[in-house]
Amino acid sequence: MDVSAIMIKSAVVIAYAFIGTFIGLLFLGVGRKIVARVHNRVGPPFYQGFIDVAKLLSKKTNISHGWIFDLALLFSISGILLAFAFLPVGGIKLLSTDGDAFLVLYLLAIPALGFALGAGASGNPNAGIGVMRALVMMLSYELPFVITMIALMIYYDTTSIARIVELQSVNGISSWAIFIPPFMLAAAVADMALQGMLMEQPFDIPVAPHEIASGPMVEFGGKYLGTLMLYKAISIVVETTLFVDFFLGGGVIMHGGIVANIANFIVWFVLIFIVFTLSLLINTAFPRFRIEQAFTFYWKYEAILATVALIWVYWMVI
């Protein structure tokens, strides 16, 4: 690859990073407004996400607990931006040809590990318990999600997300994975796993403000909390895009030049907004589970459904 191609590619990646952050912060504000409206409240303005992050980053004093604590800040942002770079967004393959679904799965783990180290270094027992819950949550929702992912890979006989998106957009919307019978079941399971990934209400066990004073974030303030909010914003976009790429054809409906790209981008944006709103509605309907309930929910009920889908796909494929 000559230098100019690399330059263009990295420019596109950086541009998409900014777009992702912008949309993420927008979603934070809009999300709180949707939840407020469900509570029959007025709710904050839609640009509240930007204001919160600006305020946090402009705090005068920032308390830190040593260099290991600062690792959380570096890992969280870089990890989630890296994951975003390896996802096809609205049909535009950023770097997703150089990596595949397993890489994205493990890239999503870097910020979680960064939090864990930062929270551990802060030495607060609340943080320790919060990180334990976060890791247990990760272990629990990964099982169904991984099984559905394997079902997809076996069906499309590839592990690279870009390839899956291509195969889903062969003849427009009808070839989306969600319309294939086993993947309807798999999509439902993956959506509940997405609820765990986004840490929305029934599964916001690690950051429970009442029980463990917001878990790992107990000692994070000022610029550290600002970075974590940026991470939360981008992670919403990344995880919803992952779901859309797997089951809703990555929003690709047209092929061709600039017009197609814009159309795909709009469809992608609408799709991730729908998925995010769905998870918010589930959020407002449920109280917070206990960690044991969440674990048994994912490893007993979700895992069985996912294995049914997997075997069904395996039977279809061989």
């Binding site: 709180r32 407020a36 509570h39 029959n40 409240r41 007025v42 709710g43 904050p44 303005p45 509240q48 204001i51 919160d52 600006a54 305020k55 402009s58 705090k59 005068k60 004093t61 920032n62 308390i63 403000p209 009442h210 004073a213 917001s214 974030m217 107990v218 000692e219 994070f220 303030g221 000022g222 909390l225």
Partner: protein, 182 residues
């Protein structure tokens, strides 16, 4: 950093996004739910309640403060990150309220930690609390909500006042200390 250098955007942002940690000691907590829920909805102004002082800008103290709880309030206040503001709800924090002659309640909170806004009433109604927040936002805008700077400037005097309250130092002992000092 002087207050003026604090740029306009940052001040606007911190005005529209006040995160509050709520230290409820006496009877004040019962007035907070209406403020948070749909009737008055403080989230309209970007105000949200946080779990730890590290994440908060506003310390909302409701109800009377005994000497023992004052120690904890000072610890929470010092763990907050500046710029930080204090809103004191209820007449008990102003002049001790109905505990004006009690032997261990704090009469005037301002002697121990800088208070930006007092809200009278026993307990003030949600409208009073909302007005307090709006007043605080206006003060931040005009750059007058300077409690945290005053605390930094007169740190020794605040600390001395706190020590005197913590050890119930009486008037005569104070004179002895003075003439020992001279």
């Amino acid at each position: 950093m002087r207050y003026e250098e604090w740029s306009g955007i940052a001040r606007k942002a911190s005005k529209r996004s006040l995160w509050m940690v709520h230290f409820c000691t006496g009877c004040g907590a019962i007035e907070m739910p209406p403020v948070m829920t749909s009737r008055y909805d403080m989230e309209r102004f970007g105000i949200a309640s946080m779990a730890t002082p590290r994440q908060a800008d506003v310390l909302l103290i409701t109800g009377y403060l005994t000497v023992k709880t004052l120690k904890r309030v000072v610890q929470v206040y010092e763990q907050m990150q500046s710029p930080k503001y204090v809103i004191a709800l209820g007449s008990c924090t102003m002049n001790g309220g109905m505990y004006w002659d009690s032997y261990n309640t704090i009469k005037r909170l301002d002697k121990y930690i800088p208070v930006d806004i007092y809200v009278a009433g026993c307990m003030p109604r949600p409208e009073g609390i909302m007005n307090a927040f709006l007043k605080l936002m206006k003060l931040i805008d005009e750059g007058k909500a300077r409690g945290w700077e005053r605390y930094k400037k007169y740190y020794e005097r605040y600390k001395k006042n706190q020590e005197m309250a913590f050890n119930f130092v009486k008037k005569e002992e104070k004179e002895e200390e003075k003439n020992e000092g001279d």
